[in-house]
């Protein structure tokens, strides 16, 4: 029986989960379509010796050509690339990493939870490139303030304009001597460092922190294994009126009605769904008069282990316990002044760093007994950094519907084109030079430094393609994640981003979703939705 709900939410990850949480608490009935199964993660996992896995932990050959994060132990957690294909130019690989289950990618996220600042929201004002968000930091700050406590984010406030302070569980842990040396070396050069900011708790997912409270209101109905394939548009009213979906297991086609539709299928799946929702009125995708749907795709550059160093006095780990250990974060320090373009690039980057633990034997130029001895001696001597940098949103970087390729459910797939440009390359190179200099200044031995970015997509921070903006000619959504053209259609995930900085995006996705959900509640009360 087809029901019409006040709200249909597509996706149960960060964005969909927050929509359900905020709306049901305000008494609004929602139905949630989630493409994957709802799992009890504890029952789904068991301890196994790695040597009993068929491929000794090497992973099933060829199963995940684009998911470097997949290990043989967690292969079943990632979306199957054969059932769900996509394409990219042969020379420009795009690593699209997807998880389909209740809670979405939040079931595996690294939990780094950073705020954006007006350096991102008003980036165009700062350096003239691209567009501003229609939202400022002051608009979003009260929502960040409420989201951080839900996810129990720990960290340390520094009072820096480029990294606004948060409602944090205070991380007052002492620094290890090695990290302290590194921090001092950075401080001398005016480079700010802080503690990691991370969601804490056993699981920090929509699955355990948002959905149970939403269900407890009695206002949420979750349909798992429901793959949305088209948002239905009513030409008479000019509004959307529901969602067509396919049952993952039976492949049966269904329709559920909705007075408001919120998409939170994650950046590229949401855009795919909108591009596939074509009609006479919308031949190029739903609500896409601007022609920007699918465009301005960006993410963040990652230079993994940009420097791998060793801490000399931590050699012979047993003798030097406590020399290393702990992690930190280098806050953006480049181009903080308006109009600045230091070393030939716009915007800036950050690093995660950590010390302690062993060094991958590949870095050790030895073999045989000397190799094994060195591996043992360096068991606690590692110091390494990873660069995370801003990627400029560009029209050319885009997704479109593939003319023939479809997934196992008959839904047309995406073709993805994303290339890094000289700005990103210059930033990566600068980050290598700065990291090497800091490590040497701290007295570490640099084993390898490089500036090779991982392929676009691999950061799992894909953003844009359905962006917000003040000008409907240049964007899809207004400041409330609401379609400029179809007032009961909302897009809550990372596709709405205008810029992304170098900060991991999820805290901002959650805060925007909370803010826009409350806007929906208010409009519904006034009978405008």
């Amino acid at each position: 029986m087809a029901k019409t709900y006040p709200v249909v939410i597509v996706g149960s990850g960060a964005s969909g989960g927050m929509a359900a949480w905020a709306l049901t608490k305000a008494g609004i009935e929602c139905v949630m379509l989630e493409a994957g199964p709802m799992l009890d993660l504890e029952k789904q996992s068991e301890l196994r010796p790695i040597y009993d896995l068929p491929f000794r932990g090497f992973g099933t050959p060829g199963r995940f050509p684009h998911v470097t994060q997949a290990s043989e132990a967690n292969e079943n957690a990632w979306l199957d690339e054969k059932q769900n294909p996509y394409s990219h130019p042969e020379k420009d690989p795009y690593y699209w990493v997807r998880i389909r289950m209740g809670g979405g990618k939040m079931n595996r996220w690294g939990r780094a939870a950073w705020r954006l600042s007006d350096l991102e929201f008003k980036a165009k004002d700062h350096d003239g490139f691209g567009e501003n968000w229609p939202v400022s930091y002051a608009d979003l700050a009260p929502f960040y303030d409420r989201v951080e406590p839900i996810f129990k984010v720990s960290g340390r406030n520094e009072g820096l304009p480029q990294l606004p302070d948060g409602q944090l569980l205070v991380d007052g842990s002492p620094e290890s001597p090695a990290n302290q040396r590194f921090i001092d070396a950075a401080k001398k050069r005016g480079i700010p460092i802080t503690k990691p900011r991370r969601a804490t708790g056993t699981l920090a997912s929509s699955l355990n922190l948002l959905l149970p409270e939403a269900l407890a209101t009695g206002k949420l109905t979750i349909v798992p294994n429901a793959i949305a394939r088209e948002v239905s548009f009513d030409a008479k009213t000019g509004l959307v009126n529901g969602v067509h979906f396919v049952d993952r297991r039976s492949k049966r086609d269904y329709f559920v009605g909705g007075k408001t539709v919120i998409l939170g299928a994650a950046t590229l799946e949401t855009t795919r769904l909108l591009l596939n929702s074509k009609s006479t009125r919308w031949p190029n995708g739903l609500g896409n008069s601007s022609g920007t749907l699918g465009h301005y795709l960006f993410d963040q550059i990652y230079v993994k282990n940009v420097v791998q160093a060793l801490v000399p006095e931590a050699r012979l780990s047993r003798a030097a316990r406590g020399v290393t250990g702990g992690a930190g974060y280098i806050v953006r320090f480049r181009n903080l002044k308006p109009g600045q373009k230091e070393n030939g690039f716009l915007r800036g980057y950050t690093y995660d760093f950590g010390s302690g633990g062993g060094i991958n034997p590949k870095y050790i130029p030895k073999y045989g007994e000397p190799l094994l001895k060195e591996v043992a001696d360096l068991a606690n001597a590692s110091f390494s950094l990873t660069t995370m940098g801003e990627v400029l949103p560009r029209f050319e970087n885009h997704v479109r519907i593939h003319p023939t390729l479809k997934d196992d459910w008959g839904i047309p797939s995406l073709h993805i084109e994303h290339r890094y440009t000289p700005n990103e390359h210059a930033m990566a190179k600068d980050s290598m030079e700065v990291a090497s200099e800091l490590c040497r200044a701290a007295g570490f031995e640099v084993l390898e430094a490089h500036s090779q970015m991982v392929p676009p997509g691999e950061s799992i921070h894909e953003l844009g393609t359905c962006r917000m903006g003040a000008d409907p000619k240049k964007s899809m959504l207004n400041q409330w994640n609401q379609s400029h053209e179809i007032k009961n259609l909302f897009v809550f995930d990372g596709s709405a981003f205008v810029t992304g900085g170098a900060q991991n995006p999820t805290l901002t996705i959650l805060s925007l979703a909370l803010r826009s959900s409350e806007y929906i509640v208010e409009r519904m009360k006034r009978g405008e939705l």
Binding site: G62, P365, Y367, G368
Partner: protein, 150 residues
């Protein structure tokens, strides 16, 4: 109290029909037949394995850990480009001194150096992830395995 005890004992049993029957992994009693390497290639591989990751201080090395036989299995299931890298590499392995060149992020241009570095990685991993390597170290090599959902 007693009843609850009996019930939880019952629940802990995987199935009502199975008793605690001890079993072993085939690797511990049997050897796989070669599927990928020729006997000549395998001889070269075993020799390199013993030199690159030897047994030290009673600890299993690559040969003791069955790494060469495991690699034969892995490569029999691998992509053609990986299979070719091994075939070409074992045909002309080059001097082990190439492993003393510093590691670089970009793959070495010299094919012999490239192959030996890859072989070292693969051997180390196959050894470190073996039951022989884990033997005697508590909790070694245990991973949280995510089961397939329906």
């Amino acid at each position: 109290m007693l009843r609850r005890h009996a019930l939880s004992a019952l629940l802990a049993t995987p199935s009502l029909w199975s008793q605690d029957i001890a079993t072993v992994h085939p690797e511990t009693v049997a050897e796989t037949t070669l599927k990928f390497f020729s006997p000549a290639e395998f001889t070269v591989l075993e020799k390199l394995a013993g030199q690159i990751i030897p047994s030290v201080g009673g600890r299993a090395g690559a040969v003791e850990a069955g790494a060469p036989r495991f690699l034969d299995f892995l490569l029999s299931k691998s992509l053609p480009k990986d299979q070719q890298a091994y075939r070409a590499g074992l045909a002309k392995p080059g001097s082990l001194a190439l492993l003393e060149k510093p590691w670089t992020y970009a793959e070495p241009a010299d094919p012999q150096e490239r192959f030996l570095k890859r072989l070292k990685d693969d051997l180390f991993r196959a050894t470190a992830n073996s039951r022989e390597w884990a033997a005697g170290r508590r909790g070694a090599g245990v991973v949280s395995y995510f089961k397939a959902a329906e």
